[in-house]
Symmetry: C2
Subunit: 222 residues, 2 copies
């Protein structure tokens, strides 16, 4: 596999390919061409070939891709074979939604424990994942070599908790709070699930479309 710096945009398209290939596989398809992937995904075939070429050769010109092996190659690229260990910090609604409904294992991640300050939850487990007291975070993290912290605490304490986690040696955070926890130029790896950013983008696109339609209508009425 080539070792070049891959752009963010390419990385972000890879999980989309993965989902599409899972879908094709579920339909019993064995081979898929970049033209077919292109139609399914609304990307150009050359874009798709170029994306895949970042990671070496996934297929053979003219023969299309083997669905299974393309799927597995992309999963490897994305680290799905690494079995990274994750802990969940905060089991409010979002934290519980993740524990109950999100299949970490499907994506090669092992959710090993959850932590909260709510005494009624401590000592219980959800979906096979034990809930510990926030006070046990330090010992646990050191002993179990945790790779990822899933941050689902209230926004008001997000930065403090993130700082504590990095001091415990955790250097990758999946951030479900509405707060930017990454200090500029720090090495911390953060993936943000900022709900409000996504909603604001949606709102922008609606406004843009409505304004475009209003202008078209104005022109039509002239």
């Amino acid at each position: 596999m080539k070792k070049v710096k891959i752009s963010n945009n390419v990385i972000r398209r890879m999980p989309r390919y993965l989902r599409k290939l899972d879908e094709l596989r579920a339909k019993g398809l064995n081979r898929v061409s970049s033209a077919e992937l292109s139609r399914e995904l609304g990307l150009t075939p050359s874009q798709i070939r170029q994306d895949f070429s970042c990671f070496g050769e996934f297929g053979q010109q003219g023969y299309g891709y083997n669905v299974d092996s393309l799927r597995d190659s992309i999963a490897l690229v994305l680290g799905a074979d690494r079995a990274y260990k994750a802990i969940l910090v905060g089991i409010g609604n979002i934290g519980r939604a993740l524990m109950d409904n999100f299949c970490f294992a499907e994506w090669g991640i092992e959710l090993v424990a959850a932590f909260d300050v709510d005494v009624s939850a401590i000592g219980t487990s959800r979906n096979g994942v034990p809930v510990y007291s926030a006070e046990e975070l330090y010992d646990y993290t050191v002993k179990k070599q945790v790779d990822i912290a899933v941050l689902a605490v209230p926004g008001a304490v997000a930065r403090d908790v993130a700082r504590n986690l990095t001091e415990l040696g955790i250097d990758a955070i999946w951030n479900f709070t509405n707060v930017d926890i990454k200090e500029p130029y720090s090495d911390l790896i953060v993936e943000n699930m900022h709900f409000s950013d996504s909603l604001m983008a949606l709102s922008y696109y609606i406004t843009e479309r409505n304004e475009l339609m209003a202008r078209r209508e104005a022109v039509g009425n002239e």
Copy 2:
């Protein structure tokens, strides 16, 4: 305001500016320079000035930006004054998390109703938002001129529900399912909250960093 097509990357940075400005405002700051914003956000000052210039002039060279008016200008650009009406479809864990904890109003969106097939939930309300039967969706949508559907149904039915919603005239979907619901080249506006994509990207960045560190160590040991 200029009417040019703004790139996706710029749109996606705008909510980040908004959050940062909210934070500065909460601290009592009145003015901020692009250099200060740059330090806070880890972007270059010229990047920031260029982003803002897409929407006309937000500040005056050399004087920095007025925090309040910059904040409000960005909110306007993002359509936060439009009071778009949203409905929630599906009140499983994610749906409930949104109803209980996500402040739609703060972002200029009015969550007017939720819909589900669970008979025990129908007729109740959460956080002031009524829960109706999925069968009432049609009448409601037509009567109330809904702008946005928040899709939080199980993945297995996501595409069918999305198709029904678009047939009801809804053309903007905030998609919390793990399924790509947008047909290529359709006009439907979709904002995806694909949890797994974000986790896969995180996993990739961890793998990339670990490999880089391993190579550095190998060189160091030579």
